[in-house]
Amino acid sequence: MSNPQQLRYSKEHEWLSVAEDGVSTVGITEFAANALGDVVYAQLPEVGDTVTAGETCGELESTKSVSDLYAPVTGEITEFNQDVVDDPSLVNTAPFEGGWLFKVRVTGEPDDLLSADEYDALSAGN
């Protein structure tokens, strides 16, 4: 399983893209998607919501369980992925691409975001 080098990661298994005009894209990692199993329902934050790093901002439901979705950074939601709401299996089939979850205008970052190599080590240790 390869975690893209250009992304950064939270310990709750979200990925965060490099900001463009202050806006980053957020999703969950392939490791997390595999651990969840088939995702059947995604409750994502709404446009205009303010999310706080490390706090829950939605949920992902799979066949066996429901998991909270954590915001990896603080900021305002600018977009959520309607395709994932309509077809949650995108989270499983393309977690780093078409299965992205939301975009956030970042106003604050925690200091414990991980590099790809650091996240590789974290997820391998699980």
């Binding site: 595999n34 088939d38 059947v40 329902y41 439901e61 066949t63 066996k64 499983n92």
Partner: protein, 376 residues
């Protein structure tokens, strides 16, 4: 429990197939190999191959094997014909369900060599073994722990008869639902039973653990052109849920009698002998007929949030029941649940029933079980 999970004879094979494993009743079992939804749909439309070696086999033999089982279980085992199987339960003295079981009659029905195999749930196998052993006192019968004597492989789904037929000498056309006979599968001895827990036609094959891999590989090869896939416990759960089949620990517990669970038909008061729980169960039967407290119903979501075991069922802001099992149904394309609800809200079509999903009351339709019945 912090003990190391037990491994089935097929453990290495599961790992080579990339299975996600899970601890289940002390066993390390395959949860899924790839997508559990794809595995579920394969069993409904083609076939799936399951390792169920965690199930607990107990053999009962001896001149009074029938008498012992009639005393220890709620069913009338004397009426099970040679080569047939019966769904039954073992209860406590107070009528509470200790486990639900399948009993296979293996040996000839003479008094000299009656032989039965009792198959218990993995999590209850020791409890059932202990209860049978204790209840055997005074009977000329032997209760034998055969958990290590068998691996159990199930092939389930509409393609399963064709798949199995190509690797066995047994007469599958003559093998009815809930029947079992000894035969050969992939060249090794097997007890071949037409039973399952998926709502589909299918077979359960009890084989020696040392033969399990050979049987699994032969079935995999035989099924490769007709859509057979390895299938894990995750899809087994959604398959049985759609088929409205109870799961011990969810729909069935020691706090419930078979009558509470809507399964009073398994209790056979007409058998002449006494049996453990008879007095309590007679009272439970009267209670269920006169004034049923709660009934087991099906619930189908109008939305997409999934009910889980333990969630409250609500109506007009009041708690009227509890979900015992819930999952997204691949066949219906909607979340479904089995729940115990107050009798006043148990009629199919009852309006205004919902499930409290993390604080939000999601609307649900009350339906009769099962959710899914195969076309025969």
């Amino acid at each position: 429990m912090s003990t190391t999970p037990r491994l089935t004879a097929l453990d290495a094979l599961h790992r080579s197939l990339g299975a996600t494993m899970t601890d289940f009743a002390g066993w390390d079992m395959p949860l899924r190999y790839a997508s559990e939804r794809d595995e579920h749909n394969a069993v409904r439309t083609h076939a799936g191959l399951f390792d169920l070696s965690h199930m607990g086999e107990i053999t009962v033999t001896g001149p009074q094997a029938v008498d012992l089982l009639n005393y220890a279980l709620v069913g009338n085992i004397g009426t099970v014909g040679l080569g047939r199987a019966r769904y039954t339960m073992i209860c406590q003295e107070d009528g509470g369900i200790l486990d639900d079981l399948i009993v296979y009659r293996l040996g000839a029905a003479t008094s000299q060599n009656g032989e039965f195999m009792v198959v218990a749930n993995a999590g209850n196998a020791q409890i059932v073994l202990d209860a049978l052993t204790e209840r055997a006192a005074g009977f000329d019968a032997v209760v034998r722990d055969d958990r290590d004597a068998y691996a159990l492989i199930a092939v389930q789904g509409p393609e399963s008869p064709g798949i199995l037929k190509s690797v066995t000498d047994a007469d599958l056309d003559g093998l009815k639902y809930y029947a079992g006979l000894p035969g050969t599968v992939a060249g090794v001895p097997a007890l071949i039973a037409r039973t399952g827990y998926t709502g589909e036609d299918g077979f359960e094959l009890f084989v020696a653990p040392s033969d399990a891999e050979q049987v699994w590989q032969a079935l995999t090869e035989a099924g490769k052109d007709v859509g057979l896939v390895p299938a894990g416990l995750s899809c087994r759960d959604t398959l049985r849920l759609e088929a409205g089949m109870p799961l011990y620990g969810h729909e069935l517990t020691t706090a419930l009698t078979p009558f509470d669970a809507g399964l009073g038909r398994v209790v056979k008061f007409e058998k002449e002998c006494d049996f453990v729980g008879r007095t309590s169960l007679e009272a439970a039967a009267e209670r269920a007929a006169a004034n049923p407290p709660r009934k087991l119903v099906g619930l189908i979501a109008e939305g997409r949030r999934v009910p889980r075991a333990g969630f409250a069922v609500v109506a007009e802001g009041q708690v009227i029941g509890e979900v015992t099992s819930g999952a997204p149904s691949p066949t219906l394309g909607k979340p479904i649940a089995i729940a115990y609800v107050d009798a006043a809200h148990a009629e199919p079509g009852t309006q205004g029933v919902g499930v409290d999903i993390r604080g939000t009351h999601e609307p649900y339709e009350v339906v009769a079980l099962p959710f899914y019945k195969r076309q025969k």
